[in-house]
């Protein structure tokens, strides 16, 4: 399938593509927040006020694409937690009012499928609609779902994407679980930090995918996901995945790897990097932070590279001086869930 349009809201200025003009934002500390566009023309003011961040950035990234295309046949979203902040707001009401009379808005928005539901509602799209929330491979599952739909031959154009919010409450919970760095560092130093933990990012990345090559930005060739591998078979998995898709080791010129500065898990990426020594390696979490569906941003970034956008020097981790034709994205979340996404120049 082909990516024919895309939109990103992230901690970088991606919604207007000015990231590619060399304007890379640098963050201090362990919370990276999205730079959001003006939603005035997109979302009615009353609706916007009641929207939690996950729903807002999901709609903010998805609706411009739907409005432009007008013939989207289905919507598939991947999100680990959806509107967790709405969820906790509702929870706080439960406790503060001792289960009294509560307003349901936060409850309804807290379900992860409310992003896909709102997109369908706002665009009157009655087609296929699904929400994957398998944490670290939820975005990979949206791609798989789209591939299966296209193989059935009933539809030819879909909106797929990932959404994750960095809210105070999910930060608190994940901080207890030891996900974040104790020290405060600059995002430009994240990848070499070599301490435990990463930083909390967020974003919504949306894609129009089509079976039709016309106006294609790049080809989204295939996806693969797996859980709890042993470190010795990661290289084998990658090689098999490439072979299945008829990409020889020589053909593969670029890797995009999810280095997040956490010494407990970055070795996975180093292993893959050494397995393909002739490749250029790009990073992305030094731009947007770590979050379960960050491979959605990697897909947005890699698509733009294949489309010929000027590559920010901040993401070149190893330069093999090869013109990008095929990019293998490898992302894992907490070393537990792993995904490959293969993109190809058209």
């Amino acid at each position: 399938m082909y990516i024919t349009d895309l939109y990103s809201i992230s901690p970088q200025k991606t919604f207007d593509n000015s990231l590619f003009d060399g304007n890379v934002e640098v963050f201090h500390g362990n919370k990276y927040y999205a730079i959001e566009p003006d939603y005035t023309d997109l979302i009615p003011r009353g609706l916007l006020r009641r929207m939690g961040k996950a729903v807002r950035i999901g709609i903010g990234a998805g609706m411009p694409l739907i409005e432009k295309q007008n013939d989207i046949e289905g919507i598939i979203i991947g999100t680990a937690t959806g509107g967790l902040d709405d969820c906790i707001k509702f929870l706080n009401q439960i406790v503060e009012y001792d289960e009294g009379t509560l307003t349901p808005t936060n409850f309804v928005q807290s379900t992860p499928n409310s992003i896909g539901g709102h997109l369908a509602l706002m665009s009157k799209n009655t087609g296929y609609n699904n929400t994957h929330m398998g944490i670290g491979t939820a975005f990979e599952s949206t791609i798989l779902d789209a591939l299966l739909l296209f193989e059935e031959g009933e539809v030819s154009k879909l909106l797929i994407g990932n959404v994750e919010e960095n809210s105070p409450h999910n930060f608190n919970i994940d901080e207890f679980a030891g996900h974040f760095k104790a020290e405060e560092i600059l995002s430009s130093e994240l990848l070499g930090s070599n301490t435990e933990g990463s930083v909390c990012g967020e974003g919504a990345n949306m894609f129009v995918v089509s079976t039709n090559k016309e106006n294609a930005i790049c080809e989204l060739v295939d996806v693969h996901q797996f859980t709890y591998p042993t470190s010795c078979n990661i290289e084998e998995r990658a090689t098999q995945f490439l072979e299945k898709n008829d990409i020889s080791l020589n053909d593969l010129d670029s890797l995009m790897l999810g280095f997040c500065g956490d010494l407990r898990t970055d070795f996975w990426y180093t292993d893959v990097m050494s397995a393909f020594p002739e490749t250029t390696v790009y990073s992305y979490k030094n731009l947007v932070g770590e979050y379960p569906t960050a491979s959605g941003f990697a897909t947005w970034l890699a698509s733009n590279i294949l489309d010929g956008k000027k590559i920010p020097k901040e993401i070149i981790y190893r330069d093999a001086k090869r013109a990008p034709q095929n990019i293998l994205i490898y992302n894992n979340y907490l070393g537990t869930q792993h995904g490959f996404i293969l993109l190809k120049k058209v």
């Binding site: 680990a80 937690t81 959806g82 969820c87 906790i88 509702f90 929870l91 706080n92 009401q93 439960i94 406790v95 001792d98 289960e99 009379t101 509560l102 307003t103 349901p104 409850f107 309804v108 807290s110 379900t111 992860p112 499928n113 409310s114 896909g116 539901g117 709102h118 369908a120 509602l121 665009s123 009157k124 799209n125 009655t126 296929y128 609609n129 699904n130 929400t131 994957h132 929330m133 398998g134 944490i135 491979t137 939820a138 599952s141 798989l144 779902d145 299966l148 193989e151 409450h169 608190n172 919970i173 994940d174 207890f176 679980a177 996901q225 797996f226 859980t227 709890y228 591998p229 869930q337």
Partner: protein
């Protein structure tokens, strides 16, 4: 496209801790909705619930898991149904952990059944409970993946109340496409203050036993449970016992309102029609409909509107939520198991508490347990966010 067969099932709900116990209750018309014993909520005093009739400790002690740190009631319920399903299908550990075995689960509440702990952890009142990594709805799937050494696709769907119907659909599609030869599919949810207060805030939580398809229905009862089905490709099924075939599925969005269905049942008509088309059957081949039938004012009349638009005359239908309550993310899978029980035993279970048919259609659901020829079943699941899914299950 390869055929997809069900070779194993496991279920736990308010009417039993395994498939046999569930079947006995369905045959005897005996509901599991009652005064709650385990869930901690003020509403436990005023509203009935469909609780699994075991304490979390009892569920845990029956499982013998390698690790139990951070496991919640949602997880134990899931493990219980999953264990029955894999034993029923006589899967070896090697088959379960094969790269060709996918695991597609579903949940809406997940670890948020630990409502008080989540409140304390999220608001920094605690110093971090053992459940800090247990709240996301897909945590149960990762725990299961670890326990059983799953190495294929592991995924969790959350489309609210249609979640596990979509899990069954996706598993079947992976097999049909050849991307997996086996899929373990289903869903799990347990009761908690979060969902109870959510549905109460929406004013659709009944303080009486739910009465699906009754003109005077007052809303739903929340329940808990889990069900898993083992799906296998015709390529590998061999001489193994099969319970049914997953023949078709349809998924749509009603695109009308965040928490209610459109009067003209747009999404329902679309998902049922797509399911029939994907199964390549005519509406008159459907012998029975396991309805979504939540007993809310909005759902039941809209569901009948949709059925009426697709079918000429109403096939026999019931809502087994009158036994299990609404088990949210587990509902589609539990109801798929019940549909298969109807097919395997050629019997239809009575729908409880419906005395006065909805005025507009004058259609009563199945009122008593009957023997009937059941070859093909339509099972409906509709959720918040407009998510609608229908499955077609056929005798094998």
């Amino acid at each position: 496209m390869k055929k997809v067969f069900v070779t194993g099932m496991g279920v736990i709900s308010a009417i039993g801790n395994n498939t046999a116990e569930n079947l006995t209750h369905l045959r005897n018309g005996k509901t599991g909705i009652a005064k709650a014993k385990y869930v901690r909520s003020n509403y436990a005093q005023t509203h009935p619930f469909a609780e699994v009739k075991s304490s979390t400790e009892d569920l845990k002690s029956r499982l013998n898991l390698k690790t139990t740190k951070g496991l919640t009631r949602t997880d134990y319920i899931a493990f219980t149904a999953l264990k029955e399903a894999v034993e029923n299908s006589q899967l070896t550990l090697k088959e379960i952990s094969s790269e060709n075995t996918a695991f597609i689960s579903a949940s809406t509440i997940g670890g948020m059944c630990m409502t008080d702990q989540l409140y304390e952890d999220a608001n920094l009142i605690s110093s971090g409970s053992e459940f800090v990594e247990s709240y996301p709805g897909s945590t149960h799937a990762l725990k299961i993946a670890k326990e059983y050494h799953l190495s294929g696709v592991v995924n969790t769907i959350n489309t609210a109340c249609s979640s596990s119907a979509n899990a069954i659909m996706l598993g079947a599609k992976l097999i049909k496409s050849g991307r997996a030869t086996r899929a373990i599919v289903g869903g799990t949810d347990s009761l908690g203050k979060f969902s109870i207060n959510g549905f109460n805030a929406l004013q659709i939580l009944s303080n009486d036993h739910c009465a699906p398809f009754d003109e005077n229905r007052k809303g739903l009862n929340l329940g808990e449970g889990a069900a898993y089905l083992i799906l296998e490709s015709e390529e590998i099924v061999g001489t193994k016992k099969t319970y049914a075939e997953i023949l078709g599925y349809g998924n749509s969005n009603d695109a009308f309102h965040p928490s209610s269905l459109s009067e003209d049942a747009v999404g329902i008509v679309e998902c049922i029609s797509k399911a029939l088309k994907s199964a390549s059957i005519n509406p008159d081949e459907v012998d029975y409909i396991n309805a979504h039938g939540t007993a809310t004012g909005n759902n039941d009349i809209t569901e009948l509107t949709g059925i009426n638009k697709v079918f000429s005359g109403f096939p026999p239908f019931n809502s087994t939520k009158s036994y299990t309550g609404h088990t949210l993310g587990a509902a589609g899978a539990i109801e798929a198991v019940y549909s298969i029980l109807s097919i395997n035993n050629n019997e239809l279970f009575s729908s409880l508490n419906c005395n006065t048919p909805i005025d507009k259609f004058n259609q009563l659901p199945i009122k008593e347990h009957i023997n009937a020829n059941v070859k093909t079943v339509l099972s409906n699941s509709f959720g918040f966010g407009g998510n609608c899914t229908s499955l077609i299950i056929r005798e094998s």
